[in-house]
C-alpha cells in the first residue's frame, strides 16, 4: 500500500454523511456491552445480587479490582498467554520466512509438488486433526507445557503461503544484484531480502499473535492444570455459575483487567496494526 496515495474518495461519497452517521450510531452499539461490563465491575457484589439496575446509581467501588490483586490467578494466566502467543508468533515467522523464501526464489527437487501439498494443508481445519494430535501429545508427554501449547499451530500453512507471496512480490533485480557479489542463498535471504519483508512479517505476526491469544479448543484440552491455563481458559473456568460463586462484579472486574493489557498494546500500535492488517489484502 502506498502511503502517499490520497485516501480521499470522490466528492459524491464524501458529501453524503449518512453512512458515517450510521457508523457512528453502530459504534454506540459496539461500546454499550463494554460500558455495561465496566459498570458492573465497579459495583459491590452484594448490591448486584439484589438487582443489576443499581449499576446506574451510586455508590461505586473499586473493591472488585482490589480483590483481583490478592486473590485472582489472572496474572499467571496472562503470563501463560503471553508466552504461548509470543512463542508461536516467533516460530511461525521463522518457519514461514525460511520456507517462503525457498518456495519463491530457490530451485530444489520436488519444489512444486511440495508447495502444492503444503497448500492443501491450508484447507485442513483444526477439528480434523485435533483428536489425533491430542493422542500424539499424550504419548509424547507434551500436555500442560508451553511447548505443547505452542507447537500445534506452527503447522499452519497460511504463514508459508503468505510469505511465499511476499517474497515473490520483491523485484528480482534486488537479489540478482547481490548474486553478482557471490552471496550465498542464506546470505541473500538474511541480509538482502529479509529486511524488505518486515512489513509482511508484521502482518503475519499480528495475525498469528491474535489467533494464538484467542485460541480456545486446543488449550481447553491440553492445558488442564490451572498453572498452565491460558487467559482464555482461565476466565472460562471461572465464568460458569457466576452468580453463585464469585459474583458478577468480581467477574466483570476480572474480565476488564484481563483485557486491558491487550487493549493498551492495541492502542499504542494501532496505526501499525491497521497498516499490517490492511497489508494482508494487498496482492
Amino acid at each position: 500500500m502506498s502511503a502517499d496515495r490520497s485516501t480521499y474518495r470522490p466528492e459524491n461519497m464524501t458529501a453524503n454523511r449518512t453512512p458515517l452517521t450510521i457508523a457512528a450510531v453502530l459504534s454506540v452499539a459496539m461500546m454499550a456491552p463494554v460500558a455495561w461490563l465496566l459498570g458492573l465491575s465497579i459495583k459491590d457484589n452484594m448490591e448486584l445480587k439484589l438487582g443489576t439496575d443499581s449499576v446506574f446509581e451510586l455508590p461505586y467501588t473499586l473493591v472488585n479490582y482490589l480483590n483481583i490483586l490478592h486473590s485472582s490467578q489472572v496474572f499467571g494466566w496472562f503470563f501463560n498467554s503471553l508466552v504461548v502467543a509470543t512463542g508461536q508468533t516467533f516460530g511461525v515467522l521463522v518457519l514461514s520466512s525460511l520456507a517462503g523464501y525457498a518456495f519463491a526464489r530457490l530451485e530444489f527437487p520436488f519444489r512444486r509438488t511440495i508447495f502444492v501439498i503444503v497448500l492443501f494443508g491450508l484447507a485442513v481445519p483444526e477439528q480434523a486433526v485435533i483428536i489425533a494430535r491430542h493422542q500424539m501429545f499424550n504419548w509424547a508427554g507434551l500436555h500442560n507445557s508451553y511447548v505443547g501449547l505452542i507447537l500445534p499451530d506452527l503447522s499452519s500453512a497460511l504463514g508459508v503461503f503468505l510469505m511465499t507471496q511476499f517474497f515473490k512480490a520483491i523485484p528480482r533485480e534486488i537479489d540478482e544484484a547481490a548474486l553478482l557479489d557471490n552471496a550465498s542463498p542464506l546470505r541473500i535471504f538474511w541480509k538482502v531480502l529479509l529486511p524488505l519483508t518486515l512489513p509482511a512479517q508484521a502482518t503475519l505476526g499480528i495475525f498469528t499473535f491474535l489467533r494464538a491469544w484467542n485460541d480456545y479448543w486446543w488449550p481447553l484440552i491440553s492445558a488442564t492444570k490451572k498453572e498452565m491455563f491460558t487467559l482464555t481458559i482461565g476466565i472460562a473456568s471461572s465464568q460458569i455459575n457466576f452468580a453463585q460463586t464469585e459474583g458478577l462484579g468480581f467477574l466483570s472486574a476480572q474480565a476488564v483487567f484481563a483485557s486491558l493489557p491487550v487493549l493498551i498494546v492495541y492502542l499504542i500500535f494501532q496505526r501499525h496494526i491497521v497498516t499490517a492488517v490492511s497489508g494482508g489484502a494487498v496482492k
Binding site: 445480587k49 439484589l50 438487582g51 472488585n64 480483590n67 490478592h70 486473590s71 485472582s72 491430542h134 493422542q135 501429545f137 499424550n138 504419548w139 509424547a140 508427554g141 507434551l142 500436555h143 500442560n144 481447553l220 484440552i221 491440553s222 488442564t224 492444570k225 490451572k226 472460562a236 473456568s237 471461572s238 460458569i240 455459575n241 457466576f242 452468580a243 453463585q244 460463586t245 464469585e246 459474583g247 468480581f250
Partner: protein, 436 residues
C-alpha cells in the same frame, strides 16, 4: 522421544530445583465453585456459609494444620468431567478429584481410579463409619472407590412469607404441601392467584440436570423400573408419559418460573420471586443465612421439605452424592500418606460440610448435638430412607442426564411432543449405551 523429553525435563528440574524443605504436594480438583475473593484466606470453617465457602475454608484449615502438605486446588466448571477425561487421557490427572457417586462406575470400570480402602484403613477409618447410602455410592466390586462426602436430593425450599399470603400455611405454621400431582396444580393455581407470582422456582435455562432429577423422582414414585436392564433405558412407558406431561402442565399453567439458569434461579427464590424453589440440599445453609437477615424477602420465613410424594406408588426421591476419588497414577508414599490425612480431616469435619444442607456421609455426625441443632434437618431426615439412585451398573449417567434433560426441556417448552421427546431420549440413550 518420550523418554528423551522426560529426561530433559528431569535435568531441568534438577538444575533449577532447590528442594529446601520437601513439601508434599497434592493436586486437588473440584467443582463447588470458586470464591477466593471471599474465602481465600479464611481458616475458621465455622464462619463459612455454602458449599464453596465451606470447602474452601476446610482446605485452608487443613493446610494450616499441616504445614508440610501443600494442597493445590483447581476449581473446574461443574461437573468438570470433560476436563477430567482430557486429563486422564493425557496422563495428567490430579491426585484427588470431586466426583458424583453416579459417575464413579464409568471410571472404575476402566481402571481409571484407584480403590481407597487401604488409604482409609491406614488412617483408621472404618467403612462402617459411613452411612449405608454413602458407602454403597462409592462401592464397586466390593471395594470403595472414593471417600464419600455426602448424600443429596432435590428438595422443596419454601418461602413461608409468600405461602402465608397464598393461604397455604397450616395453623402450626408449617406449609401446606401437595399430596398428589393434581393437588400440586390446584395449590399452584391458588398461589398464583393470591400472590401473582409463580408457585415454583425451577432451573429451566441452559440446564439438563434439574429436569432429569425431577423426572427420575416422578418415575420412581410411580414404581417405574426404567433401568431394569442397566444397558437399556425404557422411557416409552405410561409412567414416563404421565410424569413428563405433568411437568409440562406445570409450565403451561404458568405455575413455574421460566428462563432462569441455575444462578438466576438461586437468586430469584432469595429475592422472593416465587413460592417454592425446586433445588438441592446444598442450598439450605445459604437460604437459612438469608432468612436470618431482617428485611429480606425470606426473613423469618424459610423452611424446607423433601419433594412430596405425588404418586401413590411409593415415597421416593432421586438421590446422588459427592465423593473424593483418586485417579489411577503412581504416587510416592508421602503423597499417599498426605491424601490419607486429607481424607481423615474431611471425614472428621463432615459435620461442617453437612452445614451446607447435604446429608452427612459419616454416621456419627447424625448424633452430634450441633447437627441436631441445625435448622430444618428433622423435616428432611426421611430422605435418608426415601432417596434412591439409579442402579449402580448404569454407565455414562452424566451424558444420559444431558440427553434426558435436553429432550424433557424440549417437550416442556413445547418444541416437541411428549411422545417424540421420550422416544428420542430413549433411542439416543440406548445408542450411547450400546456403543460403549
Amino acid at each position: 522421544m518420550r523418554r528423551f523429553l522426560l529426561s530433559t525435563a528431569a535435568l531441568i528440574a534438577l538444575s533449577c530445583g532447590t528442594p529446601a524443605q520437601a513439601e508434599t504436594k497434592i493436586e486437588l480438583q473440584r467443582f463447588f465453585g470458586a470464591c477466593d475473593a471471599d474465602y481465600g484466606t479464611v481458616t475458621d470453617v465455622s464462619k463459612a456459609v455454602g458449599e464453596c465457602g465451606i470447602i474452601t475454608s476446610l482446605v485452608n484449615k487443613f493446610e494450616a494444620d499441616n504445614p508440610d502438605i501443600d494442597v493445590n486446588v483447581t476449581t473446574v466448571e461443574w461437573p468438570g468431567y470433560d476436563q477430567l477425561n482430557a486429563q486422564l487421557a493425557s496422563g495428567a490427572a490430579p491426585d484427588v478429584v470431586s466426583m458424583h457417586y453416579s459417575a464413579i462406575s464409568d471410571y472404575q470400570s476402566r481402571g481409571l481410579i484407584d480403590p481407597v480402602d487401604e488409604v482409609l484403613s491406614a488412617e483408621g477409618i472404618s467403612p462402617d463409619s459411613f452411612t449405608d447410602a454413602a458407602r454403597d455410592g462409592v462401592t464397586k466390586d466390593g471395594k470403595m472407590f472414593g471417600l464419600p462426602f455426602d448424600n443429596w436430593t432435590m428438595l422443596f425450599h419454601v418461602n413461608l412469607n409468600l405461602m402465608k399470603e397464598a393461604g397455604l400455611v397450616n395453623a402450626d405454621g408449617t406449609p401446606i404441601l401437595p399430596k398428589s400431582a393434581d393437588e400440586l396444580i390446584a395449590q399452584g393455581k391458588q398461589f398464583k392467584e393470591k400472590t401473582g407470582k409463580p408457585y415454583l422456582v425451577q432451573i429451566y435455562a441452559n440446564e439438563t440436570a434439574a429436569y432429569t432429577r425431577i423426572l427420575y423422582t416422578l418415575l420412581q414414585q410411580q414404581n417405574s423400573d426404567f433401568f431394569a436392564d442397566p444397558t437399556k433405558i425404557k422411557l416409552n412407558t405410561p409412567e414416563a408419559k404421565a410424569a413428563l406431561e405433568f411437568m409440562k402442565k406445570i409450565k403451561d399453567e404458568g405455575l413455574t418460573t421460566t428462563g432462569l439458569d441455575y444462578a438466576a434461579a438461586v437468586t430469584a427464590f432469595q429475592n422472593g420471586d416465587g413460592g417454592i424453589a425446586v433445588n438441592g440440599t446444598w442450598l439450605i445453609g445459604d437460604y437459612v443465612a438469608q432468612s436470618e437477615k431482617e428485611g429480606t424477602p425470606l426473613a423469618n420465613g424459610y423452611t424446607v421439605y423433601p419433594v412430596p410424594q405425588l404418586y401413590p406408588g411409593r415415597d421416593s426421591t432421586y438421590a446422588d452424592g459427592h465423593s473424593w476419588v483418586l485417579p489411577h497414577k503412581d504416587r510416592t508414599p508421602e503423597q499417599t500418606a498426605a491424601i490419607g490425612k486429607l481424607f481423615k480431616f474431611l471425614a472428621d469435619n463432615d459435620y461442617e460440610w453437612a452445614r451446607t444442607g447435604h446429608l452427612p456421609s459419616v454416621k456419627a455426625v447424625f448424633d452430634k448435638p450441633e447437627f441436631k441443632a441445625l435448622p430444618h434437618r428433622e423435616n428432611i431426615a426421611e430422605i435418608a430412607q426415601t432417596g434412591r439412585s439409579l442402579p449402580a451398573a448404569v454407565q455414562r449417567q452424566f451424558p444420559i442426564q444431558d440427553i434426558i434433560g435436553e429432550e424433557a426441556g424440549a417437550a416442556i417448552n413445547g418444541d416437541k411432543s411428549v411422545d417424540d421427546a421420550l422416544t428420542s431420549a430413549e433411542s439416543r440413550i440406548n445408542d450411547l449405551l450400546a456403543n460403549l
